[in-house]
Symmetry: C2
Subunit: 237 residues, 2 copies
């Protein structure tokens, strides 16, 4: 499906730092709806680029986000945890990095700045939530096995429709934390959905996910992806 797409590195400034993202564009001049792809805690990976390519093949201009800045990427779990902890300790910076990425995407001449969405995996799901919590102007936000703790600054009114794709056995997002997220969304987001998958843990989109409470699920990935595309079709068309 991605034969005709155009891909390129895209550097932009966000949160005061140089960020090195990845832009995948559908064929044709556009304007295309745009979607941010926020990676898991290791930083922007080939699998995120593949997601961006797939979205471009479906008609969305997709920007793989470098929320750490500097193009930081690692496959080492401890190194990734350290990177993530740095952002976890500065949630306004995480929001600013996402806002900068959204602005960079909106600024592309092939992109319709009025039709923007965002999706993310794991800590990238939190990044999408924090972008929405910051009051940013986009239409649809989707998290895959995201993490739900709210920032100390709380939440603005969330503008996008939100879809939370959730493994019910995820140890990083317990039922109690999921119910708390639902309450937060009820307070701040006019249109939200939570799709929970039984017998599904953290990282369910990741074919390499292993360990307690982790694991790839083809069914959850397929069902989540279909619901995401439906939301994008409804809100970004």
């Amino acid at each position: 499906m991605s034969d005709a797409i155009i891909t390129k590195p895209l550097s932009y400034v966000a949160g005061g730092a140089d960020c090195h993202g990845y832009l995948a564009l559908p064929a044709g001049p556009g304007p295309h709806p745009g979607v941010l792809v926020a990676p898991a805690f290791g930083g922007l990976s080939d699998s995120d680029r593949a997601v961006a390519d797939r979205l471009a093949g479906l008609g969305y201009a997709a920007l793989g986000v470098d929320y750490y800045s500097g193009g930081a990427y690692t496959q080492d779990r401890e190194e990734a945890s350290a990177l993530m902890q740095g952002m976890q300790n500065d949630r306004p910076l995480l929001a600013a990095r996402m806002q900068g990425a959204l602005a960079a995407l909106a600024g592309q001449e092939q992109v319709d700045a009025a039709r923007l969405g965002a999706m993310g995996f794991c800590f990238g799901g939190k990044a999408v939530l924090d972008l929405a919590r910051s009051g940013a102007d986009f239409r649809a936000g989707v998290t895959f096995h995201g993490v739900y703790d709210a920032p100390a600054s709380g939440s603005q009114t969330m503008k996008p429709a939100m879809l939370i794709l959730h493994g019910w056995d995820d140890p990083l997002a317990t039922p109690e934390q999921t119910v708390a997220l639902a309450a937060e969304l009820t307070a701040h987001c006019a249109d939200w959905q939570l799709l929970g998958f039984g017998h599904t843990g953290h990282g369910f989109t990741n074919v390499n996910a292993k360990g307690p409470g982790m694991g790839y699920s083809e069914a959850a990935t397929t069902r989540g992806w279909a619901n995401m595309l439906q939301l994008f079709a409804d809100k970004l068309a």
Copy 2:
């Protein structure tokens, strides 16, 4: 979409009583996959027959269920509550009525008895859950604003994939009760999903739903229906 369907009353015996259901068949000899349509607490209504017709138009042989027996139907809320309470006090009978309906559907010559599903609204959602809890042999079960309390007899291993379509503000199914259902499903059902809709109460498929914690939602109805059809396509095709 229903131009070519065939509809007729179908009487069958279930739980020791004569039941008066409604059968909607797709055009053609079949064998077609079959789906039970379990009504809300007022009993089998025109809106349930319309759902059966719609499913038949999509290729499913659909049986509107008379779980009260005798064709009981009322639009009076107090009368409906009394009917429901009678079944609530005899959950094994509710399961038996659903089992009998499933057998009646399976016995139709146009129906493939190996490809059966069930869906239901409100107390009919509970009826679908109780059918699954009874260990009945079907492939996919879907509840729209169902009610989740488990019967005293507990649950057998549930054979179908289950999809719970849930209004998060439903006062008849609180977050705590929803989390408890998820735990029950995790213990007894190998494949389950919960799709929760924010700002959505009980009766969200019912255009006439009114009152505290109640109300029609076009978005929830559309999203729920689409997910149901996807599950049926996956499991009953």
